[in-house]
Point group: C2
Chain length 329, copies 2
């Protein structure tokens, strides 16, 4: 498998250094694989932690209006408690730190240890756990639903709330409200190959896709034949709308690419998804399309739907300036 890299074992460190190079407002701590804002803002700190391979998630969402620090594990592997502690320390400006996690057992376990270590240093730490993937009730690496692309909007919303000077309790409440209102459903067309490996861990047939596959290649709901964009919009949104009541409401939609799917196709899907939602009486007032939470070179996509209220709309639109997400406010 051809990858632009030097040694597979150094790829995460080298990636973080490259990210730092591209954004002078960020600082990289390579030995702990932490990216943080160079200048601490006097507010509740926001941190995230998780495996690498999902770029720009999550290091690419550190910056003004979003996260204060991100902790990068090995590819598809949880960072250690020690690494997470460094992320919490970097996010901390004396007003407490909220950790935003995706629901994977390793991340949660290591965080609980990191939290203890941080509290011994006198840092107040709390966390929220994103479980937006409606595909399967439990999965290979999670008890309960997995956290996937919807997490990016949680970073945005929590980040904006913290930037407005809210307390740790308030930021957590708003983040949790958004988590409660967001659902995601995805599908994959190819596997992905980890750096250093010759081949992907599994394959899909020439005309085969997997509905509900996880962002680490975990099993989904079913393997089926290729569908049109219209059919995919109906399948993915069908599952989301059956799970949560969006009727008559305003929503934000994130059409996310898994890395190997051209932006052109994501825009086509966004158009078809908008039509489905219009028919259901759901007003789509914010639409995000792009590669926000990837799985290396996997081809595929997901749709996330967030039920909005005035607060969430305002927070989505508030200014943010990170490598992976910018809004002018």
């Amino acid at each position: 498998m051809k990858k632009i890299m030097n040694e597979a074992g150094n790829i995460v460190e080298e990636m973080l250094k490259g990210l730092e190079l591209s954004d002078p407002s960020l600082v990289c701590f390579p030995e702990k694989r932490v990216i943080a804002r160079r200048e601490k803002a006097s507010k509740v700190g926001l941190c995230t932690a998780g495996g690498s391979g999902h770029e720009p998630a999550h290091a690419g969402y550190v910056g003004m209006g979003m996260l204060d620090a991100a902790v990068a594990g090995n590819i598809f592997a949880s960072p250690s408690p020690d690494q997470m502690l460094k992320g919490i320390e970097e996010a901390n400006a004396g007003k407490g730190v909220l950790m935003i996690l995706k629901n994977y057992t390793g991340d949660l376990m290591n965080f609980s240890m990191a939290k203890e270590l941080a509290e011994m240093e006198g840092i107040t730490v709390d966390c929220v756990v994103v479980k937006d993937d409606v595909a399967v009730p439990d999965s290979t690496y999670s008890a309960g639903r997995r956290g996937i692309a919807g997490t990016v909007l949680i970073h945005k919303i929590a980040g904006a709330r913290a930037a407005k000077g809210a307390s740790l309790k308030e930021v957590k409440e708003t983040a949790q409200k958004a988590i409660d209102r967001i659902r995601t459903m995805g599908m994959s067309m190819t596997a992905c190959t980890l750096p250093g490996l010759e081949k992907p861990g599994f394959t899909l047939g020439e005309e085969e896709i997997e509905i509900g596959m996880g962002i680490h290649g975990e099993p989904g709901i079913e393997k089926t034949g290729m569908k049109t964009s219209k059919e995919l919009a109906e399948i993915l949104l069908g599952k989301i709308l059956a799970d949560y009541d969006y009727n008559g409401s305003e929503a934000a939609m994130l059409v996310n690419g898994l890395g190997g799917t051209p932006l052109m196709e994501l825009y086509v899907l966004a158009g078809d998804a908008a039509k489905v939602l219009k028919e259901k009486g759901i007003t789509l007032s914010r639409v995000y399309v792009g590669n926000y939470m990837t799985s290396l070179d996997m081809a595929g996509c997901s749709i996330s739907l967030l039920k909005l209220d005035e607060e969430l709309k305002e927070l989505l639109d508030a200014p943010a300036n990170t490598p992976g997400f910018k809004t002018f406010g």
Copy 2:
């Protein structure tokens, strides 16, 4: 080949409609495949035209601080004079229109007809042609060097100059200055597959890459074995530095992905390229990393290097708010 689409013949139109949906400041004219700013700014208009399949180029660079209109051809095919005329009309606010083209014969020919048509309507039109690809002197679709990823920085620079109220002549001069100072060199690891086709038009071996391949799969300089990121940085920059004198100067670098290469790998390459440039005494003061000018699902990358002066730095940093490029200024 699995693609998220409905009918291949409609994919460009549907893509543009999806783009419009994601950014309310844009308006789509699907019958002409033109994307334009919804509200005309009173300034020199900037337009571009070219084949689709390079998203976010170019429709994704329409918006505040960059382009006023973009004209999308079929995939890897030139838009017609009639389409280009519509783009020029939409970009026109009475102060003349500058068309930014990449150097491909079809685009240039069709533009010369569109220019005549626009002038018959009383619109003043001029153009600049980007020829940044140092790989080959002539190519399948071009007499002279091809225009590739460096074009995005020309959009940015010309856009900022126009936004500051410069005249058509001044905007053209600045764009031409930037064109004269930018060089790009790329490499590909896989072919790409056009929507509606079963397979790519050619293939590369399991461990084979092509140095200098064009963004439509045109032949490059040589096929060779896979290289490390460090070696690639040396090969690509070696060709660029041999072509133009950057010695002792300040430069902006764009590390561009061709679509199928994970962002992680682009950041690794950016780090290695920065080291090569440091050794050569070139100060890297702006670094852009991402999928700016793609070739559908092709895996590969390019490096562009722009020799800066104070004016160009200021224009790169000036505010821009487009789907594919945002700077806060």
